[in-house]
């Protein structure tokens, strides 16, 4: 169960080079993973250069982009497989628990 933060959903940004292909598919996978984890979330797909200014709670993307995001969000996760919901759930669980989004 999620405690959420002042009623705000978890703000997740998925990134790729353009922000309309790979990141869109990762957005769909992330929405499914977070719904299954029971965490209310708002997920946006964007390009690498726009992601930082959104100041999200979570940034997800390929390894080659993630070095740009060190410290840009409380949770920054490398995701290799953008269509594997189960793997993403497993990767998100620990960090979400640490940050208080999951009990």
């Amino acid at each position: 169960m999620s405690r959420g933060r002042a009623g705000e959903p978890l703000h997740v940004v998925t990134v790729c080079g353009v922000g309309m292909g790979s990141s869109l598919i990762l957005r769909m996978t992330a929405e499914k993973a977070l719904a299954e984890l029971g965490v209310p979330a708002r997920v946006e797909a964007t390009d690498v250069s726009s992601a930082k200014s959104l100041r999200p709670d979570v940034i997800l993307g390929q390894e080659m982009h993630m070095s740009e995001f060190a410290g840009a969000a409380p949770i920054v996760l490398e995701v290799a497989n953008f269509i594997d919901t189960e793997a993403l759930k497993r990767a998100l669980e620990g960090p979400l628990r640490e940050q208080g989004w999951l009990e």
């Binding site: 292909g21 598919i25 996978t29 390894e63």
Partner: protein, 146 residues
Amino acid sequence: MSPHLHVRVGVDVPGWQEAIRAACTPLVTAGVVEPGYVDACVDLIRRHGPYTVLAPGIALPHARPEDGVHRVGVSVVVLSFPVEFGHPENDPVDIVIAFGSPDSDQHIDLLAALAGGLAEGLADRLRAATDATEATKAIEEVIEGV
């Protein structure tokens, strides 16, 4: 208007750039994208890395609407021999799905359908297809209604 769909199987290419060109060229021929779109797809990977290799064996190259796209289209090539894109985990690639969209919305249903299909084994059905007709059918089943 339903998306333009083109499928080829048993395509033989020496490397990732040729794989992208093989996937994009039918979209140029069909008038879905401008010739420059193909170079834009290759340039994006040169500049930002092989992030479009979004799952083991599967690449989804594309560029921006402003790189010259007239309508939504997707072109799939199944390679005879997998090629390296330089992705740390998902190489080598043998399924290349190139697409174009004239804006940031019109392709969303198509991509959602493709992502759903890929999560449910579409790539293996494409690899097992003995000809383009069979592969086209596998994709049509997934994107039906888009």
